[in-house]
């Protein structure tokens, strides 16, 4: 496999995963949380590299830590959650930059961390993406109906005796795993595009969860592959082309929904 084939496989897997998880993230209104996770995992990655561990492991631990912090803040003072998330997000970045400046020997490439390095995808990246995607599909096959119930009817779910925290835990685990697996390809700044834009586009095109779960991954895979091919054609940054194509797909979906509504 050439490096470009590997990149195509990685971005297709990342697209399928982001589209699937993005649907649930969007419906649960957790887009801001994803933004915080992608930004604030930076110090975790730097510390992991300092300790000689894998970047993903550092990002994963940092994600879990941030998640716990935000859940605690959200419970104690829901009114300040948005401000606190914003502060935490910049704090993560600032700590990461400071740690990196104080340890100039750390071999962490900043641009790769920020914008991803999909063209340098390794077989490990592909295995991680494939595993998380497989796990997500499995979880959705087993718990899909219950998650749907939880998302669309909070109260009914609780009244019928099921425990909301279990559904929350499944959704949060899916979110963290998706962010950590996708970040090597698209980086801290562009991962959000593949999670939010295709899911939002799917929401414009269909009104059922079943429809979104199919359309969003398809659109995200298209965005990934078209973005990569265009970037090779025109010699542009790969991750950024994927992000821009994903957002253009949303714009196209929104416009076509408007036109159909008028007709």
């Amino acid at each position: 496999m050439t490096y470009f084939d590997r990149a195509l496989v990685a971005i297709a897997l990342a697209g399928a995963l982001s589209g699937l998880a993005g649907t649930f993230i969007l419906l649960r209104r957790r887009v801001l949380l994803v933004q915080a996770l992608t930004h604030a995992t930076f110090p975790g990655a730097v510390v992991a590299v300092l300790l000689g561990l894998s970047v993903q492991l550092g990002a994963l631990s940092a994600s879990v830590l941030i998640l716990v912090l935000l859940i605690l803040i959200g419970r104690a003072r829901p009114a300040i959650l948005q401000a606190a998330t914003g502060v935490l997000l910049t704090a993560g970045f600032a700590v990461g930059i400071l740690l990196q400046a104080m340890n100039p020997e750390v071999p962490l490439r900043l641009d790769a961390y920020l914008f991803g390095s999909v063209l340098a995808s390794t077989s490990t990246d592909i295995v991680v993406l494939g595993t998380v995607l497989g796990g997500t599909v499995l979880v959705l096959i087993v718990f899909g109906r219950r998650l749907e119930f939880y998302l669309f009817d909070h109260v009914g779910y609780q009244v019928s005796g099921m425990r909301p925290w279990r559904a929350e835990l499944v959704l949060l685990a899916m979110t963290v795993a998706t962010v950590v697996a996708t970040m090597p390809a698209l980086g801290a700044l562009l991962t959000i595009s593949l999670i939010a834009a295709p899911a939002a586009a799917a929401k414009e095109l269909t009104s059922t969860l079943r429809g979104m779960v199919v359309i969003a991954p398809v659109l995200a895979v298209c965005a990934g592959i078209v973005g990569l091919l265009l970037s090779r054609w025109w010699g542009l940054a790969a991750g950024a082309s994927v992000a821009v194509v994903a957002c253009l797909i949303y714009v196209g979906a929104a416009l076509s929904a408007r036109i159909r509504a008028r007709a």
Binding site: L98, A101, F115, S193, I195, G239, A243
Partner: protein, 279 residues
């Protein structure tokens, strides 16, 4: 030389004087903007704007170098504001609309940079700032951006305060919400230009949201909140610079001032939060 004497001496270094000249006006304006961001719950929208301004900065720089930064950022902020308003009217929840706008426009910025090639280093300085190597021209540009932002806020002050407390009432009284929002977003964009030079595009958010959020936790009146917010911003910026200086000399590596300034803002927020929770 001990740390205390070092602090006293440090104000004589020209690079620290330049850094202060950039940061103090920036803090004054971001303290003021921060009040409106907090009262209206625009934290994530501000995050979106800081990213969305990036292609404007990149395109402006490619076309005209440093003087192109300001007009480029303003055009990008206008486009982003119109786009966000359109998405909100289309019924998309505001966090999703912001996420799509910010990642799409940020990606566009990176594409502009990668398409022109060769200016990567200047883009890295825009992302992370270069507080201790600002030239006099850049300090002037930053001050100009801050001045314009302050002007926009002063001119629209009544509309901004009215909208922050009672959006519908303000519309009923004849203030147009689109005009008010565009004015506020342009002011935020101007702060982002100045802050991109100082602390970098990725850390601007701390300056924009912490002063207002921290002041809101303490103050009970609007006027106190404004004063506190501005004071917090100025103190945190100056202390942040001094921390970077002391740290640089003690560990003997150049510490980026932007990171310590941003962390000082975060520290202020944490302190006010603990004070508030204890009460």
């Amino acid at each position: 030389m001990g740390p205390i004497e070092l602090l006293g001496e440090s104000f004589r270094f020209p690079f620290i004087q330049h850094a202060l000249a950039v940061v103090v006006p920036l803090a004054l304006v971001s303290g003021l903007v921060g009040v409106f961001i907090n009262l209206r719950g625009l934290e994530f929208v501000s995050d979106g704007l800081t990213h969305a301004v990036f292609p404007g900065l990149a395109a402006g720089y490619v076309i005209a170098g440093n003087p192109g930064l300001l007009p480029g950022a303003l055009v990008a902020a206008l486009v982003a504001t119109v786009f966000l308003t359109y998405l909100a009217r289309a019924g998309l929840s505001s966090d999703t609309a912001t996420a799509i706008t910010l990642s799409g426009m940020f990606g566009l910025g990176v594409l502009i940079v990668s398409g022109t090639g060769g200016i990567t280093t200047s883009i890295e300085t825009l992302l992370f700032g270069h507080l201790f190597t600002v030239s006099i021209a850049e300090a002037g540009l930053a001050a100009l951006a801050c001045g314009l932002a302050a002007l926009l806020l002063v001119v629209s002050y009544r509309a901004q305060v009215f909208t922050a407390f009672d959006g519908e009432g303000a519309q009923g009284a004849g203030y147009r919400s689109m005009t008010t929002n565009i004015t506020l977003n342009l002011a935020i964009a101007l702060v982002v230009v100045s802050a991109s030079i100082a602390v970098g595009n990725l850390l601007v958010l701390a300056l924009l949201i912490v002063p207002g959020a921290a002041a809101r936790l303490i103050a009970r009146r609007f006027s106190t909140m404004v004063l506190l917010s501005v004071a917090i911003a100025v103190v945190a910026s100056v202390v942040g610079i001094l921390v970077a200086v002391v740290l640089s000399f003690s560990v003997d590596v150049p510490i980026p001032g932007g990171a310590t300034v941003a962390l000082m803002f975060v520290a202020v927020y944490l302190v006010t939060l603990t004070l508030r929770v204890r009460k």
